[in-house]
């Protein structure tokens, strides 16, 4: 699974490697009580995520930009024996936060189970090395522990990504782990008991309906923290612009000097529909069924750029993003279309400087 040692040329180093110096400085300065097997005190973990300056002058970069309260609740949850569930729409830094929490608490963010529709029970409990199993019979040596099992045995933080994508029966194997804090191995007549310091961070997407909802028995074992979308439009425009720039470069799209206005418009439309209220706060709107996440805004703009570059005059215009927006907003052809039209007629039509956008959207919708 994991290769020991630090690979300096890794495309993306683990959090505990990339920020090793910060963790070290924090550990040195941290004089508060630490829960057993924690590398840092809860207070220092919160500081590692939120950023700050240590007495010795070391600057801790903020890993998460958002409400302090959220980080405090998350860290505190890990300090109790409850598991932590990070919820949020795509692009709200759930995985990022969970990785950094694990790195700061246990010094190891690699005990990771990636949840997919095909995640088997073995990924959460244990598997077998069949060669040894056949050769030696069932023994502890023939057993292949899952990341969760290792975390339990060593008192570390395990991570489960995209918990709601895992089939329900596999999810429920976590119940014993989280409530009894033990993992029986009936084949050997043994069990692995979690030692102090063990905990689990799961992430899940709360806007994707229809995937495997958590059973209430499992849900009850988690404290839930919802990570919000970017708080201000400017933050979001910045994120979109930066990502679009990166993606555009990798796709060899020509740079667009004037694109920022169009990006701002896309972000405004997304935020208004998502929040159900216009940016000036004066008019309520209905929200469509789609997520309208920052990630989707990025893909709308990227798609618009490609259109402008290959079929337009190279400048991102209203017409280039209109079709993309329509596709992102209208997920349910009946209800969402009405919502979109209402938005066009009651908000967009009246707005100064949005005439071109209104016309473009009308054309696409017709």
């Amino acid at each position: 699974m994991t290769v020991p040692g630090i690979q300096t040329d890794a495309l993306r180093p683990h959090a505990e490697d990339a920020f090793a110096h910060e963790l070290k400085a924090l550990a040195a300065a941290d004089d508060r009580p630490r829960p057993e097997r924690w590398r840092l005190s809860p207070w220092a973990v919160a500081m590692y995520l939120l950023g700050g300056t240590l007495p010795d002058g070391t600057v801790i970069t903020p890993k998460y930009v958002g409400p302090r309260r959220i980080v405090e609740v998350a860290v505190t949850t890990l300090a109790t024996d409850r598991a932590l569930l990070l919820l949020g729409v795509p692009g709200t830094a759930k995985t990022w936060v969970s990785e950094h929490l694990a790195a700061a608490v246990s010094g190891d963010s690699t005990l990771l189970v990636q949840g997919t529709a095909g995640t088997p029970e073995e990924a959460i409990r244990y598997g077998w090395n069949y060669a040894r199993l056949l050769a030696e019979g069932p023994s502890r040596d023939a057993l292949v522990p899952s990341p969760v099992m290792r975390a339990m045995a060593e008192g570390m933080t395990a991570r489960v990504e995209e918990l709601t994508r895992i089939p329900a029966d596999v999810q429920d194997t976590l119940i014993t782990v989280l409530s009894e804090k033990t993992l029986p191995v009936p084949e050997l007549g043994q069990e692995v008991q979690a030692v102090r310091g063990f905990n689990l961070i799961a992430t899940a997407n709360d806007r994707d309906r229809g995937v495997n909802e958590l059973s209430s028995a499992l849900r009850r074992r988690f404290n839930t923290v919802v990570l919000p979308l970017p708080a201000t439009a400017e933050d979001e425009v910045g994120i979109v612009a930066r990502r679009v720039d990166q993606i555009g470069r990798s796709l060899d799209l020509p740079a667009t000097p004037d694109g920022i206005d169009e990006i701002r418009r896309v972000v405004t439309v997304f935020r208004e529909l998502r929040d159900g209220v216009t940016a000036d706060g004066r008019t309520r709107l209905k929200s469509p069924s789609g997520t309208l996440s920052t990630a989707e805004a990025i893909s709308v703009v990227t798609g618009g750029l490609a259109l402008a570059a290959h079929f337009g005059d190279g400048v991102l215009r209203a017409g280039d993003v209109a079709a993309g927006i329509l596709g992102a907003v209208v997920r349910d052809p009946a209800a969402d279309r009405v919502i979109w039209q209402e938005y066009l007629e009651t908000v967009v039509r009246e707005r100064d400087g949005w005439k071109d956008f209104y016309r473009a959207c009308r054309e696409v919708a017709a």
Binding site: T76, A79, T80, R82, L85, L87, R284, K286
Partner: protein
């Protein structure tokens, strides 16, 4: 000081108003030192009202309300909650038979001063958010009568701790003393600091010790922050004088409960002469004072008056719970969430308590405070969501508690305001029902109507509107007046909304708007606000209306709401009130109806289709009215939106008329409305009818179309009489309906045709017979006119109507002659 030798020192209990910890500490301190008299910061005029505090019908939260006689708008409030230290002291003293006095500057002065200080303040005007002008820290509330119905933060205002809390503090040039102390202790939020060091302490140790510490801290602060404001100096001089008086009168230990800020000043020794001097020449107003019921919501900051305490419910809980406040709190929350259908188990409660306590430890607080418990509730019980949490905030953190005042309490200012208005308007409260009619063009009558409408908003149904006797006139209103004794009780209850009828009705309307469940309810409310002349409430109502309209996806609701709204626009127009905002909202609403209507008409069953047809009619009328209003030059609605309103509606109707999948009744109705407006040529209408009535359409659908087209009001008959082609189409279709289907469509057709007037029915029958049996009778088509009609206009017969038309229109003869010609023809078929 004079008699110091004989009299022991007074016990000065500096508190934070509405602080549960302070209240507990006051009770413990009183129990310990057993004073001979208790003095409380508050208006001395209320001394006579003190015994009412033990009345069994008196339930906090209540407030002492003082206002200038005859001007209820100039008022000041001293609210008391169950957990207010002042209230606790009051109850303690009454229970132990110890005399109680209020020792603050009399309201007579504070109210007079407040007006003097602020020339700009109009009595009865809308209160400014800040409460005391001077406010903030240091000043007494007394000083600034919050105008109107806006309760000020009350006695506490004093500087003390609470001053710090109000936004007013920021406006004040002086720094917030609490913030200074909290900052010194390393806290960002002064309120949190005060809670940690005072309110959350649970009592072991010396009952008086905390007060000494607070007094010392305040003394330091006062010397560090410099001179107090004049008003403070005056109030403190008065308090000192009263304190001296009481000590002389009662002897022994006298206890004083006042804002912590004042403690150092009361301990100070000044000569009587100096204090008297400070009070010399104060302006005075005639003041009336009484108890009024209060609510937790008004105590809380959420009500929008800018100051107060954020979480009365939480404080009440802290005060009431004997031990384990966090555990008890979580249990209450779990119970509330369970009652609302949220699955919350005892295990959740346990985990929430643990999380809250761990959070508090991590944040370095001695006890989990409100912030920690709320965070824990969100993470453990609400799955991280803020939606159920909002419920917790509303019901528990703020709380729904409503105070009560015994009947024996003196009349409320609202009652007095009503009496005054009744006298001015010469409306006598009589038990016998009496009908009267108001001509709204007269000022007195209009004022009477407004008063009655306002009272109705407050739930005081003194008058009941009757259907106007004069028919449709907008200028007349009929009322049945009947005064019943229980209405006085209602007025007392309504006292919590404000001190004047107008202010209270405005506050009530705003609250109703926020709570209204249905869209139609809010439009109705908007109408009532206009009738009651409450322009101040309109922005809130309009906002609620726009919000709800935006979120309501049921076009039926929107369509129901539109007519009332448009009526309001019209009405406001007649009264020349500014309804621009209203018209804008109405136009927005119409726009939403336009967008959603075609989709909403699809897939309806018969009943739903009939209802929807009604909505289409209602919207049609409303659009016509709205467009008419907007076209008038006086209306301020945006020129870009309104001219197209009718056109866009016509476009929607066209879609309805031509979309095959929609129910027949709606398509028929839409066709008819277009035809009547002249937006659909006759040929086109005939073609649509032909399509529907051809063999491909199920007979039941076709019959529904006919019902929709001809209308249930009977007006459609005339159309058939006049349009040969349409009649022929109907006739042809009817004869072709297969026998087994005929019985199916018969009830519908009968319902449609029986609504026509007998004369019309007979004519129709005649014409059908003639049409089907060619031969006898005049040939129908030599001059293109239908059978039974002359070839052209008959001027002689048309002229016969003119005198009547002139009378109806009230116009001169010339005006009528030009117009009567064309219109007269249609009206005279027989």
């Amino acid at each position: 000081m004079t008699g110091t030798a004989a009299v022991p020192e007074p016990v000065l209990l500096g508190v934070r108003h509405h602080g549960p910890g302070s209240a507990r500490a006051v009770r413990a301190a009183l129990d310990r030192c057993r004073p001979t008299a208790v003095l409380i910061e508050g208006p001395p005029e209320a001394d006579a009202l003190i015994p009412l505090a033990t009345d069994q019908h008196m339930r906090p939260p209540v407030a002492l309300l003082a206002h200038v006689a005859g001007e209820p708008g100039r008022a000041a409030f001293w609210p008391f909650a169950e957990f207010s230290p002042e209230w606790v002291a009051l109850r303690w003293a009454l229970a132990h038979g110890v005399p109680v006095r209020f020792i603050d500057l009399p309201a007579a002065h504070t109210l007079a001063l407040g007006v003097g200080d602020e020339p700009g303040r109009v009595p009865g005007s809308i209160p400014r958010a800040g409460i005391d002008p001077g406010a903030g820290t240091g000043t007494g509330e007394g000083i600034t009568p919050g105008a109107g119905d806006e309760p000020r933060r009350g006695p506490e205002s004093d500087a003390g701790p609470e001053g710090a809390l109000g936004p007013a503090g920021a406006a004040h040039p002086r720094t917030d003393p609490l913030a200074v102390l909290a900052g010194a202790a390393g806290y960002d939020d002064p309120e949190v600091w005060w809670e940690d060091v005072v309110e959350h302490r649970r009592g072991e140790g010396d009952a008086l010790a905390p007060f000494e510490v607070v007094a010392e801290a305040m003394g330091e602060l006062r010397s560090a922050l410099g001179e107090e404001r004049d008003t403070d100096a005056i109030r403190e001089a008065h308090m000192r004088l009263r304190l001296r008086e009481a000590r002389r009168e009662f002897g022994g230990v006298v206890a004083v409960v006042c804002g912590a800020w004042h403690v150092p000043a009361l301990a100070e020794r000044r000569t009587v002469a100096a204090d008297r001097q400070a009070l010399k020449g104060l302006p005075k107003a005639k003041v009336e004072i009484g108890w009024v019921p209060w609510t937790h919501r008004r105590l809380s900051r959420h009500s929008g008056y800018g100051a107060g305490i954020a979480s009365p419910g939480w404080y009440g809980h802290l005060f009431r719970s004997p031990d384990r406040p966090v555990e008890r709190w979580m249990t209450d929350v779990a119970r509330l969430l369970r009652a609302e259908g949220q699955p919350v188990s005892s295990a959740h409660v346990i985990e929430a308590v643990r999380l809250a306590e761990t959070l508090a430890a991590m944040r370095g607080r001695p006890l989990a405070g409100l912030a920690e418990t709320v965070d824990a509730i969100r993470a453990v019980m609400c799955d991280g969501s803020d939606v159920p949490l909002a419920l917790v905030r509303d019901r528990l953190v703020v709380g729904d508690v409503l105070g009560e005042v015994p009947d024996a309490a003196p009349a409320s200012p609202l009652q007095r305001d009503l009496d005054r208005q009744r006298r001015t308007l010469r409306l006598k409260p009589e038990a016998a029902a009496r009908d009267c009619e108001f001509d709204l063009r007269k000022d007195t009558d209009a004022a009477r109507s407004r008063l009655l409408h306002r009272l109705r908003l407050l739930g005081v149904d003194w008058g009941e509107p009757l259907p106007s006797r004069g028919g449709l006139g907008t200028f007349r209103e009929s009322w049945r007046l009947c005064w019943e004794p229980e209405l006085s009780v209602r007025i007392a209850e309504a006292g919590a909304w404000g001190t004047t009828v107008e202010g209270a009705a405005t506050a009530k309307a705003e609250s109703l708007a926020r709570e209204a469940a249905t869209l139609a309810g809010i439009t109705g409310l908007a109408e009532r606000c206009l009738l009651a002349g409450l322009p101040d409430a309109l922005p809130v109502v309009m906002r609620a209306l726009a919000d709800r309209a935006a979120l309501d996806s049921d076009v039926g609701h929107l369509a129901q709401a539109l007519p009332a709204l448009v009526r309001s626009v019209r009405y406001g127009d007649v009264r020349r009130t500014d309804t621009a905002a209203l018209a804008e909202v109405a136009a927005g609403l119409a726009e939403r109806v336009f967008v959603g209507l075609p989709a909403a008409c699809a897939g309806l069953d018969t009943d739903a289709a009939t209802e929807m047809r009604g909505h289409v009619d209602a919207v049609h009328q409303a659009v016509a009215l709205l467009a008419g209003t907007a076209d008038e030059p006086a209306a301020v609605t945006g020129p870009a939106t309104t001219p197209g309103l009718r056109d866009r509606w016509a476009a929607v109707l066209k879609v309805l008329a031509e979309r095959d999948a929609l129910p027949g009744g709606i398509r028929g109705r839409a066709t008819r409305l277009l035809l009547d407006d002249g937006r659909l040529p006759h040929e086109r209408a005939a073609r649509l009818m032909g399509l529907v009535l051809s063999a491909g359409t199920p007979p039941a659908e076709a019959a529904a179309w006919i019902e929709g087209f001809l209308g249930t009001g009977g007006s459609g008959g005339m159309l058939l009489v006049h349009d040969e082609r349409l009649l022929a189409l109907v006739d042809g279709w009817l004869t072709a309906v297969p026998p087994d289907a005929f019985t199916g469509v018969l009830p519908l057709l009968r319902r449609t045709f029986s609504a026509f007037e007998p004369g019309v029915r007979r004519t129709l029958g005649d014409r059908v017979r003639r049409h089907n049996t060619p031969g006898p009778g005049p040939d129908p088509s030599p001059h293109g006119a239908p059978a039974g009609f002359g070839p052209a206009l008959d001027p002689r017969r048309a002229a016969a109507v003119l005198p009547t038309m002139r009378l109806l229109l009230g116009t001169g003869p010339e005006a009528v002659t030009t117009e009567a010609g064309p219109t007269g023809t249609g009206g005279e078929p027989v």
